[in-house]
């Protein structure tokens, strides 16, 4: 197996001060995370706001330095690469296409920027590559002359994808790329990402808070809770038989178009997770329906699940 991304015992802490006179608090945003993503496959990472999934993305992109552990991309440690080399290897697509595009630049210039920043591409070559990538993501050459404000949310996200692909990277980190979009546009973008992955043999990490969204693209899904991966399984197996109670709750939260079924009580209660105050024992136990005494005191260790996956629960 050829690994595109290898993450080993990755950990990242932040020190927060809530107010001027309040004590510093240590937040462990990513806690001992390990996984491997083979070339050409897609790892879906799912979890609620504050679970550390975006911090994990920034660590893999090399935008943040880890407190401990390492992330290697295509066999190289990101800290050993300069920014230009890193940009040729790995690129991000972020959630909000309204915030991630410079409102004062034309689409053509926004997409060209990664090429121009490399400083090695001739002007004619830049123009040719930009035209090719815009066409590839389904934007007309007329769109290239427009400003971001003249585009719809879906078109902007296509621009963000074009910008990520213009350097022909091998790995793309998609952080909630469809969460700001309508469901109809979400489907267009998911289909586009799927086509691009197949045609260009790309490797993705695809982050979402909604399990239903990652199913179509991901070959494997990791569920994160308060900084740890609590379940990581091959996609079909995870959707067929989710083993961690948190994965089950996330799956129950998906509202399918089936009238008469009402909105389910997903059983997570109101005890929202606080990354600065991680519970002892299993960190999920205050919200867990089936927690027993052991869960309140002893942290579970990961056990191997089918097909090389893992689940971290005393009762799974």
């Amino acid at each position: 197996m050829n690994a595109a991304i290898e993450v080993a015992k990755l950990r990242r802490e932040f020190v927060l001060r809530a107010g001027l006179f309040e004590a510093r608090r240590r937040v462990i945003a990513v806690d001992d995370v390990s996984f491997t993503v083979p070339v050409g496959s897609v790892l879906g990472i799912v979890g609620e706001s504050g679970c550390g999934k975006s911090t994990l993305a920034r660590l893999i992109l090399g935008l943040l330095a880890p407190t401990a552990g390492s992330a290697t991309v295509a066999g190289k440690r990101l800290s050993d690469l300069d920014r230009k080399a890193r940009a040729r290897l790995i690129q991000p697509v972020f959630q909000d296409p309204f915030a991630s595009l410079n409102p004062r630049r034309r689409i053509r210039d926004i997409v060209a920027l990664p090429l121009v920043a490399q400083g090695t591409f001739a002007r004619a070559d830049v123009a040719r590559r930009v035209a090719r990538v815009l066409e590839r993501v389904g934007l007309s050459s007329e769109m290239a002359e427009r400003m971001p404000a003249e585009l719809s949310g879906g078109q902007r996200q296509r621009v963000a994808i074009a910008r990520a692909l213009v350097l022909e990277p091998r790995i793309v980190i998609c952080d909630e790329p469809t969460s700001a979009l309508d469901v109809s546009v979400q489907a267009q973008i998911l289909n586009l990402l799927g086509d691009l992955r197949r045609d260009l043999n790309l490797t993705y990490i695809f982050i979402s808070h909604n399990l239903a969204v990652v199913e179509h693209l991901a070959s494997e899904v990791a569920v994160m809770y308060l900084g740890r991966i609590v379940e990581r399984r091959e996609t079909d197996a995870l959707f067929r038989e989710p083993r961690h109670p948190y994965t089950q709750a996330l799956l129950a939260s998906v509202l399918t178009p089936e009238p008469g079924r009402g909105v389910p009580d997903v059983g997570l209660g109101d005890a929202l997770p606080d990354p600065a105050n991680i519970p002892a024992g299993c960190r999920f136990h205050p919200r867990c329906r089936i927690a027993v005494a052991q869960c309140r005191s002893v942290p579970p260790t990961p056990v191997v699940a089918d097909g090389g996956g893992m689940v971290e629960c005393h009762l799974a």
Binding site: S49, Q155, Q186, L190, S253, T256, P257, P259, L272
Partner: protein, 325 residues
């Protein structure tokens, strides 16, 4: 008589854009009515037109616009202000931008009530605490003194809902209330809205782009496209036999866990909602419709697909539900 009656509502912006084109719908007391469609379909503009909150430059006309015995078409601005936040309230998608960052949660909640009712500030704060408990906010007394930035997204939206309920409204207009939230929090907020409807007989006009939400909470549905209601039906009927190609397209976009086939593309609707100029004729969906033909450019009449179920398309009614792709 319906609590809210809208008949042939039209909204234009500067005479160039027809954002709402002849919308008719009624919301009964204690009913949840969903307006569903993509961004740019005119759902929010319809809601704002009802609330009298359209931006300057927008022109509103209708043959009828009545709420609980009030004629909203002739009501003065002061008259509207007396209704808003009182017997009809509205919550928005983004609780960050709809709460004032400079005032505490308690003072914002109390203001809603002291403005409309003859109550003291302390009585209003008491009501605020009671309602915050009702909408599932833990330690409400503590929250009263907090500022919006100190709350999570789910908590802010609960504060918005509690605030909207301060004066015991008959109608709640909720514009994409869960779109900015985690799916787990979304389920909790929607359960909350359902229980408010059950316990207080609250009528809800819920705006969303997600047919998954519609299926789970709506009693009746109006599907909007390019400013028109293209299909309306009781919820069960709409999902059992969706008629308009747009409704069927929207339905195919909702990812259903366990039914996704990874080697096949997800259902999607190509293109985007067009901007419609006044005087536009024919079906506005024809530019994106697989069934479009020349006659679609002419006026389309409403067809019936059963009691309380009609749609705006030249195609004859179909009986089958949509087969999942």
């Amino acid at each position: 008589m319906s609590l809210l009656e809208i008949e042939d509502l039209a909204v234009t912006f500067g005479g160039r854009t027809a954002a709402v084109r002849g919308v008719s719908l009624g919301v009964e007391p204690g009913e949840t009515h969903c307006l569903v469609g993509e961004s740019g379909c005119g759902k929010s503009v319809t809601a704002l037109a009802v609330m009298g909150l359209l931006a300057p430059g927008a022109a509103r006309r209708a043959t009828r616009l009545r709420f609980a015995g009030n004629d909203l078409l002739t009501l003065s601005d002061r008259g509207m202000a007396r209704l808003r936040g009182n017997t009809m309230s509205m919550i928005f998608q983004e609780p960050v931008t709809s709460l004032n960052p400079a005032f505490t949660v308690g003072s914002q909640m109390a203001e809603v009530m002291t403005r409309h009712k003859r109550v003291s500030r302390s009585a209003a704060l008491e009501r605020a605490v009671e309602l915050m408990g009702r909408v599932g906010i833990t330690a409400p007394e503590l929250r009263l003194g907090q500022f919006p930035h100190q709350l999570s997204g789910g908590l802010r939206q609960r504060v918005m809902i509690a605030m909207a309920l301060m004066c015991d409204p008959q109608l709640l207009v909720a514009d994409e209330p869960t779109t900015a939230l985690d799916v787990t929090v979304q389920a909790q907020i929607l359960r909350l809205l359902a229980s408010l409807k059950r316990d207080f007989g609250l009528a809800i006009l819920l705006i969303t782009h997600d047919l998954g939400i519609v299926a789970r909470v709506a009693d009746r549905v109006s599907v909007m496209y390019a400013g028109e209601v293209v299909e309306r039906a009781a919820t069960a009927d709409l999902f059992a036999a969706p008629q308009h190609p747009y409704t069927r397209g929207l339905l195919s976009c909702v990812p259903v866990p366990g039914k996704v086939q990874r080697d096949r593309p997800l259902g999607s609707i190509p293109g985007v909602v067009p901007t419609i100029a006044p005087g536009f004729a024919g079906c506005a969906f024809r530019s994106r419709c697989a069934h479009a033909e020349a006659t679609c450019a002419h006026e389309i009449s409403r067809r019936s697909a059963g009691a309380g179920h009609d749609y705006l398309c030249r195609l004859a009614p179909r009986e089958s539900a949509l087969q999942p792709a």
